[in-house]
Symmetry: C2
Subunit: 347 residues, 2 copies
């Protein structure tokens, strides 16, 4: 583990290949040390760039437009040769059960992103009293439907419905949310698969900003199936040394201080203090919690990291808004595109 | 992370519940510090104890003998009520392809262990020129065979045969080696499943010797699918903070020094020096490598840890022989027993 005095090797080299990240001007003195210039991740900008690339690919592959940029990218896709002009575009189907205003909004955002990238998408709305059997039958029908590339069951499900069983029922090759056991197994064992979207988004950010992962010490706080565990394995695949922490970890500040890369995904607002961050480290903050503000109103979203205090200390950091969030939906599109390529290539 | 001066909290409490481990008398002075009394794990003794318990369970459940001890244990098994006296015993089938003397010996050891525990077992020997299609067909036939509870494909396979495809072909509920993607996924996501045998054996040793895992810092060196990755996840399930290291990890000695529990599974002989071990830490050594000795002959097996030097430093340590090894086959029996219980309970 590197000492706290020297900037992290990982993020010390952090540079945006295309300067999408806007470095915050924070030069000055801090405890007798020169303040680090902190780059703030522009997740929305990166997401837009990647989505535009995908849109161009889809346009080129379906023949709906001639996009030279897309055509160039297409050549790199494994199944490209099997495509024929006029192929149908990628199709994502979301499945939503019951009345939950927040999840309705999330689903709408996913369909909007699909539409803008030239994907088709459908949303199935099932009533709150849907039985488990009925839910599984709907999933099975989508598994059998040759026009569907990706299936996403929006959480939370109403009480009495088993989300794990639903995840297990989705055909592995259509499991674009990466929640089923076969893709989890592939993630663990190695090789290709459809992996959870937020971890993929974090890796895409780190790659874009040129953060060196090989040999770096990555500390992941939080061990959820959707973020903490998969991001640990993706980082390990990239030759990082990974420490998996959680709410019961002892000496959390000291462990974090040894991190070249810190991924916080606990949902505990401002858990990570500035003093926990190794100068120059890359900090990926997945937290987005709404808290009761002084005025009694809900304020937020607040991250797991004390963002303001971390400026001048971290080398690279994601903001609460327009950080990791936009990259999650982007990776859902990427997974759907990959599933479509596999499907069309195999057809 | 705890300081190197104080004995590890995890293994400081290490006590054999039944004193199977034989503490080595190593009192004395070491660099001005009192030498730690190192307990050496008696893996063979623990394996024998667990196998005897399983034999009693099988005897009680199949009615082949009246074993009061077994009957008591049986009451705790989930599917016990569905059993009827005279049920067939658990059955393991091994599949071996080609001529490899070492793997022939390994397979023989597994069948011997089955026989002694009252299991039945079969070994299918296929010629070295077996095609992938033929291998998969054999596995599928075993999947369909209601008399078979566990299937194990012995590695290595001859060149040209795909071990991953073979692992994927085994029905998840018969995958007693825990090598397939569904069980890997279950291990990652949580819940029950059939998990790799060496990691299960390590956990059984730690539990037997009363090593506290909750909140402990566990360092795992090596990231194989069969040991390193699964043991990391099993330890995380038990609320340990887990650092996953590998050959490219920087500062390996310092990372190890912060470990309350060290699991070494790299196959690099004597990689871990005494100075890497936190005084009082629990050290699980999976390495068993044969090296060229001074006389030119093969010597070994040699562990990943410098065992002799670690005595007086570690709180608990596995020896190269009769340490983790015997527990691996024991957990293969346990998985087969569990698969049988599930199967008979479901029948």
């Amino acid at each position: 583990m590197t000492t706290a005095a020297s900037p992290s090797r990982a993020a010390g080299r952090a540079q945006s290949r295309e300067k999408i990240g806007q470095p915050v001007q924070t030069q000055g003195q801090m405890r007798g040390r020169t303040r680090i210039e902190t780059s703030v991740v522009d997740g929305l900008g990166l997401a837009r760039k990647l989505r535009a690339e995908m849109a161009a690919q889809v346009a080129a592959l379906t023949g709906s437009a001639a996009a030279a940029e897309g055509a160039a990218a297409v050549a790199e896709r494994p199944a490209a040769s099997a495509f024929h002009s006029g192929a149908r575009p990628p199709c994502l189907v979301t499945l939503r059960v019951g009345e939950d205003p927040a999840s309705r909004a999330y689903v709408a955002g996913k369909h909007r992103a699909c539409r803008r990238a030239g994907f088709t998408s459908r949303n199935l709305e099932l009533p709150a009293n849907t039985s488990q059997k009925e839910l599984l039958a709907q999933i099975e029908a989508l598994n059998q439907d040759g026009e569907v590339d990706g299936i996403l069951v929006q959480l939370p499900l109403p009480k009495g419905l088993d989300a794990v069983a639903a995840a297990c029922a989705i055909a592995a090759e259509k499991d674009v949310d990466g929640v089923g056991p076969v893709n989890a197994g592939r993630l663990l064992v190695g090789g290709a698969g459809l992996f959870p979207c937020t971890p993929l988004g974090i890796l895409a950010i780190l790659d874009h900003y040129g953060v060196e992962l090989r040999g770096a010490h990555a500390v992941v706080i939080g061990r959820s199936n959707i973020v903490g565990k998969p991001v640990s394995l993706l980082l390990q695949r990239r030759d990082a040394t990974v420490t998996m922490c959680h709410s019961r970890s002892r000496n959390l500040p000291e462990i974090c201080q040894s991190a070249d890369l810190l991924v916080a995904c606990t949902g505990v607002p401002r858990l990570v203090k500035a003093g926990w961050i190794q100068p120059g480290a890359a900090v990926m903050d997945v937290g987005a919690t709404y808290v009761n503000g002084k005025s009694g109103n809900l304020e937020g979203p607040v991250g797991d990291v004390d963002f303001e205090a971390a400026l001048g200390r971290a080398g690279l950091i994601t903001p609460h808004r327009r950080g990791v969030g936009p990259m999650t939906i982007t990776m859902l599109l990427r997974n759907t595109l990959d599933a479509w390529c596999q499907r069309m290539g195999a057809a």
